[in-house]
Amino acid sequence: MKKIEALIKPFKLTDVKEKLIEIGVHGMTVTEVKGFGRQKGHTELYRGTEYKIDFLPKTKLEVVVAEETVPQVVEAIIAAAYTGQIGDGKIFISPIEETIRIRTKERGKDAV
């Protein structure tokens, strides 16, 4: 099992979610986060005082999937989240040791 974390532009969340459901992903966790990468921040102006805002709002989407479906999921996220502009986001993949469904106590692949 792998965990796929994708940091995407907030307005792309619906597209990504729909694409993932389409390829058979049944669950995901979404968090509103702030951060910066190459896009950096922007400046805001209040009564002539300029503030540098470094952290931009992003959406973090987490899904845990069976190892063999990882390429398909990654492809789907890239397809849906892509704009070609700086700031489209990143995808991180990491191994998951175990998954347990609390209600049924199922483990492993059956639980994701």
Binding site: E44, L45, Y46, R47, G48, T49, Y51, K52, I53
Partner: protein, 454 residues
């Protein structure tokens, strides 16, 4: 009673030169205010209550009351979210504290029978003798209590304006004491000097229709004193402190604009042509000032901001306040436009001086009020208000000099007393919360609640 009458008579004869809003009673066809005609009669015939005037004054009182919650939202949106409640609270609680003070002693100190041209005596304390009978000195056609409650609303908002200077760091307990003492030691005397029968600035002939000196200069310069004595917010100016909710700020500015019609048009103390004229010029000055600030900012920094438009509108309201009963529509447009630009520049200049007047109470209220008081000396015309005077542009440079004198007095008096008062409170009660408390935010530390649960 005898001195009281003779002072009144003296003022009556000086009407052409010395006028303030209190004398703007309905004019007879010859242009002589009714009060001046009625004054020598002894015993004076019982003044008749005008229901239209009374209805308008009650409405205006309610309108002006709403300005203080409006100000609370205007300020509340500009602070960080951890201080939104404490900021709103400082304005809101002023309604309660100043109301009680006003009923007990404030009204009598400000408008009661004159003592040595500097203060009212306490014979009206507890509103003793202030009832349904009109007081011809101030408003001959409405119950005395209607005039009293209208004036209270001005006393409430004035100290609330100062809170912008020390937002996000002032201890609430000390604030309550400050509120009470400032109203008693600065507002009440100044209101007496400028508006009270026998007040020495009024006798000098200075024009302040709705409170440029009494409300805006007094609070604005007090804000500067407060910013200097209280000191900067922790982390200012290195740490970003952007407004947390500008939609709230705009709603507040809109409520101020709305309520200000009562502030200025109500200051006619009647519901006739003068009230309408004040209403109209208030509106146009505000519109022009919103544009003035917006375009100045756009030219200077490249972006027209909503906070700029809202701030400009407030600057315009401030500037037209002293002039609103004495100038016409074209003058109001100029007054507003200049106010928008000048107040923007004053706010920008703050960065160069390094004091932390957090929400620009000095830059907007003192500078805007000063410009408005000067502009009254330039644009005032007896064609608009026979009880007023002509300004420089109508051939009377004398008025401008009087205005400058009255401005200087208001600056010096309010600054000095506020400075001393805060120094004493600092030594006895402490003005600020601790550094740790400031980091956590005043809402939680001072009030035990949060503005937002999400």
């Amino acid at each position: 009673m005898k001195t009281f009458l003779s002072v009144f008579l003296a003022v009556g004869f000086l009407l052409a030169a010395s006028a303030s809003f209190a004398e703007d009673v309905p004019a007879t066809p010859s242009g002589v205010p009714v009060a001046a005609v009625a004054a020598p009669a002894s015993p004076a015939p019982a003044p008749k209550i005008d229901t239209g005037d009374t209805a308008w004054m009650l409405t205006s009182s309610a309108l002006v009351l709403l300005m203080t919650p409006g100000l609370a939202l205007f300020y509340g949106g500009m602070v960080r979210r951890k201080n939104v409640l404490s900021t709103i609270m400082q304005s809101f609680i002023a309604i309660a504290v100043v109301s009680v003070q006003w009923m007990l002693i404030g009204y009598s100190l400000a408008f009661g029978p004159d003592v040595g041209h500097v203060i009212g005596n306490l014979s009206w304390a507890g509103l003793n003798g202030v009832g349904a009978e009109p007081n011809a000195d101030y408003a001959a056609t409405i119950p005395h209590q209607a005039f009293m409650i209208f004036q209270l609303m001005f006393a409430i908002i004035t100290p609330a304006l100062i809170t912008g200077a020390f937002a996000e760091r002032f201890r609430f307990s000390t604030f309550l004491v400050f509120l009470l003492l400032w109203t008693t030691l600065v507002y009440d005397p100044l209101a007496h000097w400028v508006w009270g029968v026998g007040g020495w600035i009024r006798n000098m002939g200075a024009l302040d229709f709705a409170g440029g000196l009494v409300v805006h200069i007094s609070s604005g310069i007090a804000a500067l004193a407060a910013a200097l004595v209280v000191g900067k917010r922790k982390g200012y100016p290195h740490e970003p402190m952007p407004p947390h909710n500008l939609t709230m700020t705009l709603l507040g500015a809109a409520l101020l604009w709305f309520g200000w019609f009562g502030f200025n048009a109500g200051s006619a103390v009647t519901s006739g042509g003068l009230a309408v004229s004040a209403f109209v010029v208030t509106h146009f000055a505000t519109a022009a000032a919103a544009l003035g600030w917006l375009f100045a900012e756009w030219a200077h920094r490249g972006k027209p901001t909503l906070l700029g438009a809202a701030s400009g509108a407030v600057a315009g309201l401030v500037a037209i306040t002293p002039a609103s009963g004495f100038v016409g529509p074209v003058a109001s447009l100029i007054i507003g436009l200049v106010a928008g630009v000048v107040c923007y520049l004053a706010v920008i200049a703050k960065g160069k001086f390094g004091y932390d007047d957090s929400l620009d109470a000095f830059g907007v209220h003192c500078i805007g009020g000063t410009w408005g008081a000067l502009a009254t000396g330039l644009f005032a015309s007896t064609a608009i208000n026979a009880a007023g005077a002509n300004g420089l542009f109508y051939g009377n440079p004398g008025l401008l000099l009087i205005q400058i004198k009255s401005i200087a007095v208001a600056w010096v008096y309010s600054f000095a007393v506020t400075f001393l008062l805060l120094k004493i409170l600092d030594a006895t009660m402490g003005l600020r919360v601790t550094n740790d408390e400031e980091t956590q935010g005043l809402d939680l530390i001072q009030h035990g609640e949060s503005g937002y649960s999400m």
